[in-house]
Symmetry: C2
Subunit: 449 residues, 2 copies
């Protein structure tokens, strides 16, 4: 057995749920299923209840607490009936459950310590008839069941845990990483965990893996055409950085196999001392824009925070600030953290006009500033008219505290919260965030791989 | 008569030398010529003495104090003899004259208040035989004499004075502007001052004017093929900015003809109060790098200063400093003045490595910084490895005071002076430069057109 295999086997001992764990999950699922079927009997149609996700495909990791249960409802139901019945059954199963919203509403509850989603979907004969992404999900276990090889579950567990260890496990819109089904498809395609990692170490984007011929083109860095839907890229959510991170960790594993590759490292919370020494030692400018987090799921919150972050960083760069790094995180409050080389600039900015020979535009520019008292110039440099005009905002703090932030591309749920008020917290004052974000700040103060 | 013509005629009254002035210059020239011829009689060859430049072509401006006299020596003299005889005759004419160096040495002296250059050149039958640029000069008056039209001298005077008013008169390497001969050729080509200006207002670089078919290609923004040398661009020295400046002033003249266009505006020296209020009001960072000016002519000094300026600005920009404007000027001391948005940066700089998928280079980068204690990272951003490493110089002052300045592309004569020592003068302390550079600083504090 090679060193790599030995290390993987050793890790597997910790990753595979034992008999007791399997039985416990099965019992939890059966209890949910039975309650759901009992409630469904009240309706005058045939309906089924099915386990989907990693539990159904026997690829779940020891310690995973998620069970996904689908209610397969008849395709002739209209959308309104379908949604009402889905919620009604979910709430019958979990009278204390929470209603969540994805493509359509569903109920979340807890069964014997497991987090359970009870999701309605249309019962279809063929994946090509799908009306929504959710409807396709029940076909995934079927496909994997048909194609699995001896030892497949362990190989899939290894890859999932490896992605988790690298911080890129999950198809949610916070992680933009590798979901469970994607990991399984990669293992099916390459034949095992080690084979996936060997391939990934040499990947050059765009990487395309076709379980069937793609029916449309994708811009994503990784394209894995869904075996049950030729139009869908199972890896569409994988970001450039998540892909690069997997490539990096794959090379590290090949060079030096270690069981730590499968461990989740809990970040050490940032202390007040660490934060102060970071700020002082780097002499950079750190500003946190803090407001109440809107009450939406993470898959809605994070894309909005990222959009706002991108817009803010672009605007600051446009204004001549040199942003070194930025982060977003949320708990009760949401925080956009920006670290810039310098937080305050001079009172003037160079504003370049057109080349003098471009007659009409150049004339217009010259006339605009010719008699202006608050600019220096126009003068000519590199063949262009140039003026130096007053800067609108001489510091990042001043900008964040102005109404100009509402001209940024803000996520729709954020805009309302920001309008209600926000704080701008700078440099040493960031210690006031440690109560809520000591762990999240670690990702900024200690970025790594 | 149009408004433009009337204004030009009015200006001409001030620009044309009167009878007395003409006679005085003629007498000065004849006296020099006679002394030179007398001395040349000692040699056993035929030689001539000739007036060249604007005096010879009757295009000099009232108040011009320059007379250029050429000694036409036989082409069979070898370089050494030729130079010795040139100097000997020059010194016989001006026993107190100074020896200067261009393509070869020559003597400068003063005659009745005129600054006189006595320059040796080979006497050739045809401009195509020229051995150096100087040898071509005697052919210029011949060509202009042959092609001139009625009123040519006045038109040429108008264009020269117009260029002078715009600050772009002179083919020297400080001005990089329009020389006298170039102005005359433009007037010959377009037919008059007004016609040149009308054409210039619409110029789009590259502008090419061929008195004969060019025998080689030129990259310069303005190309005027010398009628006496098909290989030469008479306008090769005209910079992009000088060209743009002439275009600008031409448009201004067409829109609003005023005799002020022909005036030379003496800049008001910068006062201590103005300098202080400039520095404080803009909150920028001003640094002057001051050293002894080497003892070379301006045509050698300014290209070296500009080269050093370009290299310094590029290096500062590379280090992340945002340079708004820079200037060079020299008197006893030479000064490189740099105005930057901000003079001090944080202690870290972002250093981007290759995309992670570029295996070999990426690995190399990662290994280099993996265990480095003084960097943050490597982390992944936009698919690349990134580290934040300590900045070498956190301020422009610190950079200028370091040995790193010797890695800049310094002009050869400057390097020696800089090695002997220099000062770095910052912000309000710049007032200490006012004794020497109060006029020159005006071009920085009040850049204009």
């Amino acid at each position: 057995m090679t060193e790599h295999r030995e290390t993987a086997e050793e890790a597997l001992e910790e990753l595979s749920p034992d008999e007791g764990e399997r039985r416990r999950m099965q019992e939890a699922y059966e209890s949910i299923r039975d309650r759901a079927l009992e409630d469904l009997e009240e309706y005058d149609f045939e309906a089924q209840v099915t386990l989907v996700g990693s539990a159904a495909r026997d690829t779940w990791l020891e310690g995973d607490r998620d069970i996904d249960v689908f209610l397969l409802l008849p395709p002739y139901l209209d959308r309104k009936e379908f949604q009402e019945i889905g919620l009604e059954v979910g709430q019958a199963v979990f009278p204390d459950g929470r209603v969540e919203y994805a493509e359509h509403p569903y109920v979340q509850g807890v069964e014997d310590g497991y987090d359970v989603d009870v999701v309605p979907c249309y019962s279809l004969d063929d994946a090509s008839e799908v009306q929504s992404a959710v409807d396709r999900t029940p076909f995934h276990p079927e496909y994997v069941e048909r194609e699995r090889f001896e030892g497949f579950s362990d190989e899939a567990r290894l890859l999932k845990a490896f992605c988790r260890g690298a911080g890129v496990y999950g198809s949610d819109l916070r992680t933009h990483g590798f979901g469970g089904y994607l990991c399984e498809l990669l293992v099916l395609h390459y034949g095992g965990f080690q084979e996936v990692v060997e391939a990934a170490a040499d990947w050059t984007p765009q990487v395309v893996i076709e379980f069937q011929t793609a029916e449309r083109s994708h811009d994503d860095p990784l394209v894995v055409v869904d075996p049950v839907d030729a139009e869908r890229n199972v890896a569409s959510v994988v970001s450039e950085d998540s892909l690069a991170t997997l490539i990096h960790h794959s090379r590290q594993w090949l060079e030096n196999p270690a069981t730590e590759a499968f461990d989740v490292e809990e970040p050490i919370p940032v202390s007040e001392e660490e934060l102060r020494s970071y700020v002082e030692g780097r002499d950079t400018y750190l500003a946190a824009w803090v407001f109440q987090a809107p009450d939406v799921v993470e898959d809605q919150l994070y894309p909005q925070l990222r959009k706002t972050e991108t817009s803010l960083v672009e605007e600051l760069e446009r204004q001549g600030f040199d942003v070194i790094r930025s982060h977003v995180f949320a708990d009760d409050r949401a925080t956009l953290l920006v670290e810039a080389n310098v937080g305050r600039q001079s009172k003037v900015e160079r504003h370049e006009g057109p080349p003098v020979y471009v007659e009409e535009h150049a004339d217009e520019f010259y006339r605009k500033y010719e008699d202006s008292d608050d600019v220096v110039g126009p003068y000519i440099d590199d063949g262009r008219y140039v003026v130096e005009r007053p800067r609108r905002y001489t510091s990042i703090e001043e900008f964040l505290e102005s109404d100009a932030v509402f001209d940024l591309a803000l996520g729709q749920n954020l805009e309302r919260e920001i309008e209600r008020g926000y704080d701008v917290i700078v440099d040493e004052e960031l210690t006031s965030l440690l109560d809520e974000f000591a762990v999240e700040l670690a990702s900024h103060l200690r970025p790594g791989l």
